[in-house]
Symmetry: C2
């Protein structure tokens, strides 16, 4: 079976992505970034999901994005916006995050002979990040085609972003059909001891998605 | 003065690049990757060069590319080719290296308000790496223009590869005019105690460059 590398953040989107990659008949390899965010709940969630999906090889790659800074997700001194969703690029934007993640994914895909990289980037409920848009994915593909050995040899690695045009509710609907264990996922930016905050952008998108999809979110909220 | 981020590997090309960025009137910031290659001589050389060029802020970013593997530069078990230069992509190719380096540079450039990133990529004496070609730099620029906050705001960060079309001799000629301290640079893949091997691809390109430029290479060779 062809191999696919799935970027597994521990969140709802990447979990759905893993299910789609497996459903499409790939042997899946999984890559999670431990990048110095405020809590390790996402990494724990990703480990659980990798096991659930039977990843052939689950890799956790350390990346000190907190040393760079420039984002409320990485810098304790900046406040994470809890008053909902706005039109501008929010304070949780991490400079070049998906660019960096996909670049390191390319290296892993070349190394382990994966023909595709699945990323759960999403442009609809995307919090305003420029590196979650379809035009970014297309531009990254073109760059990868000329910048990698595989591309230069005429066997380019495909960047697959199957959620890019879907609403959160549509993603959840797809995932429920495929049996994604959303109880294992973690979306909250704030990371309470056991429960998600329910207030940050990520929680709000998630809750709205479950509501619109007509399902109960299986994780606990409140602090 | 406008700020430029210079990727400083410790080698001859990136040192020349730093001199060109400064000569073009930039305040320079410098970024070096400590990426698990066989020796730290490159990082030491980069530190010395950053000091020489008066870098406003010199950053050493740890990146465990050796955990990914897939290159003789990173993996003790693969032999580094010492019999000169061939047409194919050599065993020292590190999967997606310049893609990863430029991606992390983008994040630093956004964070520190740099308008340009200078990279010493070189397509002439380039050892056959696909991510050293002008078409790669162009494709990366387009991707960065859509994938970053700066790009989305209409203030894209320019990727500048001033050496991309130059031979090693032309690079050295430019650098000598600008007073680049080539005695501080390190190019050898093998990294002897004090001296470069003189045999690997990198040493051969360097020695040939100095010979063609009509200068003596100020570093020592032999083991």
């Amino acid at each position: 079976m062809p191999r696919a590398l799935v970027l597994l953040s521990g969140g709802l989107d990447s979990a759905t992505c893993a299910a789609l990659a497996r459903d499409a008949g790939h042997d899946i390899f999984t890559l999670t970034f431990d990048y110095g965010s405020r809590h390790s709940k996402e990494v724990d969630a990703a480990n659980a999901l990798a096991q659930h999906f039977g990843s052939e090889k689950h890799m956790v790659f350390k990346l000190a994005l907190d040393k760079i800074g420039g984002s409320a997700l990485l810098d304790e001194s900046e406040e994470i916006r809890q008053n909902g969703v706005a039109d501008d690029i929010p304070s949780t934007y991490v400079p070049a995050r998906n660019i960096i993640f996909l670049s390191i994914a390319l290296a892993h895909a070349e190394r382990f002979g994966c023909d595709a990289i699945f990323i759960g980037a999403n442009a609809i409920d995307y919090s305003g990040y420029p590196d979650c848009r379809p035009e970014f994915i297309e531009a990254f593909q073109k760059m990868a085609d000329v910048g990698t050995k595989r591309g230069a040899e005429g066997r380019p690695i495909q960047i697959v972003a199957p959620l890019v045009d879907l609403s959160k509710a549509e993603i959840i609907n797809k995932g429920m059909v495929l049996g994604v264990p959303y109880n294992l996922t973690w979306s909250c930016y704030l990371g309470g001891e056991k429960k998600a905050c329910g207030k940050c952008d990520a929680c709000q998108f998630r809750l709205k998605g479950f509501e619109e999809a007509g399902y109960d979110d299986p994780i606990e909220y409140g602090n």
